[in-house]
Every structure is written in C-alpha cells, then in structure tokens.
C-alpha cells in the first residue's frame, strides 16, 4: 500500500468575477512508504496546492487523493501525517516543550508521556538546552527545528513539508537539510517535500517531481540515485553524481521553458 496515491487530481480556484485559475490539471503521483519525494517547480505550478490536497487542507475539484489507502480526510482525522510549513508557526505563548507537546495534548496523550516524547524529540533536533525557552528567544533556524520536532511528535509514517527551509539563510539551510536526512533515516517516514531549490531537492530526495505552471502539471520525474538517506552526508554536495542529478532536474525545468518559448516562466526557482 502506497503512502500517498494521487490519481487524476485537478484543482480549480474560483477568483473574482467567475474567473478560474487551474492550479492543478489531472496530476497523478505515488509515494511508497519511506520514500523521500520533492516537488519542485516555478511559482504557481501548484506544488504547494498538491501538498495541501494530500494534507486535506484543501479539497480537489476532481480526482482522488489516498493516504495509506484511506481518503485524505480520514488520514487527517487519524493523524497519519505530520506537517511543517515555511513559517514555523509556533505558538508564541508556549515554551518550546509546550509547542512540541501541542499535537499530543490535542489528542489526549497523558502528561508524563508527552514530556518524555518532547524530550526525545528535542534531543533529536539538538535543542535539549532550549526546552523551557519561548519561541521569541530562538533564531529562525531553531524555531524551524522546533516545528520539525512538532511534526514528528506522533511518529507519523508520512511527513508533509511545505518549503520548511525557505526562510532560512543558506548556511542554516544546508545544516537543516543534513539533519533532516538523518532524522528521516532514523524514523523511516515517507516525505513529500515542496521546495524552490534544485540542490535541496536533489540532496534530500530519492525522486524529484518537476512541475510546470498554468495549468499545474507534472513535467517529469527525475530519479536521484544517490544512495539511501543513511549514507548521505555533506560530502555528497560535491559529488559528481550530485551535480549530474542537479543538471538533470535543471534541464527538466528549463526544457519546458524552451518548449513554451517563455524563459521567464521558471522564475522563482533557485538554480544555485
């Protein structure tokens, strides 16, 4: 059974005066358990929309989204996934521990069990010394690590991440990517990861889904053969195979631009 099974999904947004924007046009995608899949593409290609449909934060106009064989709605109610956004979205009036405990608290986990779980997760993201701090006392990178710890609180088999490192500087970002790879290796969760950055997608993923805008479609799926998550480290960033994959993803993105004779349509994608 696949972690995510998206079949012929379309999403049409109605904007003012009856005009319609086709955010996604019959998109199909499967993610197997434990697999790391990145969604990449220019602004407006519907990658975030696709993630929101999987999370049941929005409903598709047509098609079907299955998460672990259930409807997206049922999977959300059963808490089958953890989620992290571009904004950490921590509650400023709760401590770091309080924020990580939030999902557990909402789902009736006892106090002692919550504390223990929060401690484990803080150790996992390397923030044990900051358990009693408030979010406004942390840097952006630390806040994002708390948000990732929170998304892992209920040991989900599926992680949904919407540009979680988008607001971070390059140094912090690379460190967070390395950490995420390690965390994924430890937890064995499947990940759907939305990003703007080609190197980020290649470094993290076993498959990179390249999307094109207006209407949002899957352009190409690039399989990255860089070994399992456990064997990936910083040295990989300078590996020839890494650059080859970056090139492949870049060509998939640009091939579309050449085809449509609109090079500006890839704006918003970092090709660093």
């Amino acid at each position: 059974m696949n972690a995510v099974e998206v079949t012929g999904v379309s999403k049409v947004f109605r904007v003012a005066k009856g005009a319609e924007v086709v955010a996604l046009d019959s998109v199909s995608l499967s993610v197997v358990p434990g697999e790391f899949v990145s969604l990449i593409g220019p602004s407006g290609c519907g990658k975030s929309t696709l993630l929101r449909l999987i999370a049941d934060l929005d409903q598709p106009t047509a098609g079907e989204v299955l998460v672990f064989g259930k409807s997206a709605r049922q999977a959300r109610i059963d808490q089958d996934y953890g989620i992290a956004f571009q904004q950490a979205g921590l509650l400023p009036w709760r401590t770091v521990t309080g924020n990580i405990e939030l999902p557990l608290e909402l789902h009736g986990v006892g106090k002692a069990a919550r504390r223990a779980r929060a401690q484990d997760l803080l150790a996992l993201v390397g923030l044990s010394d900051f358990a009693d701090r408030y979010p406004d006392q942390l840097s952006g990178g630390m806040q994002q690590r708390v948000a990732i710890a929170r998304s892992l609180a209920e040991s989900p088999e599926l992680l949904l991440m919407d540009e979680p490192f988008g607001a971070l500087d390059e140094m912090t970002r690379e460190r967070m990517q390395t950490e995420l790879v390690r965390i994924c290796a430890e937890t064995g969760a499947a990940v759907v990861f939305v990003t703007h950055s080609i190197p980020e997608a290649v470094y993290l993923s076993s498959r990179v889904v390249v999307m094109s805008p207006r209407p949002g479609r899957i352009q190409e799926v690039v399989t990255v053969g860089l070994g399992s998550a456990g064997t990936r480290d910083d040295a990989l960033r300078e590996d020839a195979a890494f650059f080859a994959s970056v090139k492949a993803v870049r060509e998939a993105l640009h091939g579309d631009a050449v085809h449509e004779k609109a090079p500006h349509s890839v704006r918003g994608v970092e090709t660093r």
């Binding site: 934060l57 959300r76 808490q79 996934y81 904004q87 009036w93």
Partner: protein
C-alpha cells in the same frame, strides 16, 4: 554586540540600567513637584479664594485629616467599579467568544453594540435607580458594567480574529475540534487584546461608578461626597475626595496595565 546601545555614551557608572530608568522616574516626579509649587505660590501670591481653587497644602491637610472618610468613600466607589468591571468584562469576553464562533450572533450584535457604544451610559443611571431602587448600589454597578462591556467586547473580538493562517492550517491538520482550536490558539492569541480592552475599561469603570452617584442613590461614595462637600462650601474637602478618586482610578489603571504587560510578554509574532 555590546550590552548598551551606541547612543548611550554616559560614564560607566551611570550607564545601562540606571541612567535610562532613573530619568524615566525622576523626570515626571520633578515636573509634578514644580507644578505643585507653582500652584501653591500662585494661590498665596494672587490671593485666590478656596472656593475658586484651594492650595495643594490646604487640600493635602484636608486629605490627611479626613482620611477615614475619604477611605470609606473610596471603598464604596471602588467596590462598585470593581463589581462593574468584573461583570462587564466577563459578559464582554463571553459575548466576544460567541460572536467569534457564531457568525449570526456577530451580525445580530453589530447594531446593538454600536448603539451601546454611542449612548452616554451614565445617562442611564436615573432610569436604573428607578428600576433597582435608589437605596442599593446595583444601578451604579450596572452603569460601570455597561461602560466596561464595550471596550472589552470590541478589543477581545478583534483579538479573536487575529489567528494567523498558519495556525489555522495547523489546527485543521491536527483535526482539532472548534473548541480545542479556540482554547489552544484563538483565546491565548487574543489575550493581549483582551487586556488592552480591560485597561481602557478600568478607568471607565471608576469614572462611570463615580459619575453615576451624581444622579442619586445611597450616600457614602466618592461622587456623593464630592457634591455634598461642595454644596456645603467645604471646597478643600471636596478636593480631598477628588484626590481620592484620582488615586482610585490610578490603582485600577496600574493593576490592569500590569496584567496587560504580563499577558503580552511572549505575544510578539514569530516567523
């Protein structure tokens, strides 16, 4: 980064904590003393009659000598203001929660709240005295409660509508019930707004409870005492009661301000 900002280039002894906060405290005190001195001098030199304006020393002496009576009046008016503040705040908060949860309630309440916001609430005092009887404090407490209700309701409702989209998405992703979302995200986020409303309302509570005494009801409160002292030409005593009302208002304000500071300690928005 250095501990003190570049603009403070005072000598090491007065740098940092002491220079800024010391000036913040001493400057207003100094100004107050200067004003009182000028007042005293003006009253003595210009030979101003006490029924026009008593001197600060005169008022001070009167305040000290009739402290028991001023204190008794402060307790009566303060209790009315406090009961009104509590009553108005609780109903205001509950109504704001209802308006935030149920759209229909919000739409229904708009004209009523607008009407309540524009009527001079103390004008209701005579009507309320007839309704509840002129020998109990109920009318005054209700006037204070009505005055408190509006700012608390409006501010709390505004606060309840400040929920950030990312928090809304998060609550949906957690399949949180509407009540869970209200309790964990909406209400704590509204707290700083609620306490701002309460701070504004605290002064209104004291003012309304005091002014309501002008329209009738039992004697003993500060308002009644001011009018009766003035009516019997005891102007320094009237001013002593006024001083008592100012102190009462300050206490209400300072306490609610402290709560507000406490509530907005960690409310700065995070990325």
């Amino acid at each position: 980064m250095s501990a003190t900002s570049g603009s403070r280039s005072a000598s090491p002894l007065t740098r940092g904590f002491s220079s800024g906060s010391l000036r913040a405290v001493t400057a207003p005190i100094l100004l107050g003393v200067v004003v009182l001195l000028l007042w005293q001098v003006a009253v003595v030199l210009l030979d101003i009659k006490p029924f026009v304006l008593p001197s600060p020393v005169n008022i001070g002496t009167q305040f000290a000598s009739s402290f028991d009576s001023v204190w008794a009046g402060t307790v009566v008016t303060g209790t009315n203001a406090f009961v009104g503040l509590l009553l108005g705040a609780v109903t205001g908060i509950l109504a704001a929660i209802a308006a935030a949860l149920v759209r229909v309630f919000d739409e229904l309440s708009v004209p009523i709240v607008t009407a309540a916001a524009v009527i001079p609430i103390v004008a209701l005092a005579p009507v309320l005295y007839t309704m509840f009887g002129a020998n109990v404090e109920t009318a005054r407490q209700l006037v204070a409660a009505l005055a408190v209700f509006i700012p608390v309701y409006l501010n709390t409702l505004k606060g309840l509508r400040q929920v950030r989209p990312v928090h809304r998405d998060l609550m949906r992703a957690y399949a949180a019930s509407p009540w869970q979302a209200t309790r964990t995200v909406t209400l704590p986020g509204a707290m700083p707004f609620l306490f701002t409303g309460l701070r504004i309302a605290s002064s209104l509570a004291v003012i309304s409870a005091l002014i309501a005494e002008y329209f009738g009801g039992p004697v003993g409160g500060l308002g009644k005492s001011i009018t009766s002292a003035a009516a019997s030409s005891n102007y320094p005593l009237a001013y002593a009661y006024v001083l008592g009302s100012i102190l009462l208002g300050l206490v209400f304000y300072a306490v609610t301000l402290a709560f507000e500071k406490l509530a907005s300690r960690h409310s700065s928005s995070t990325p």
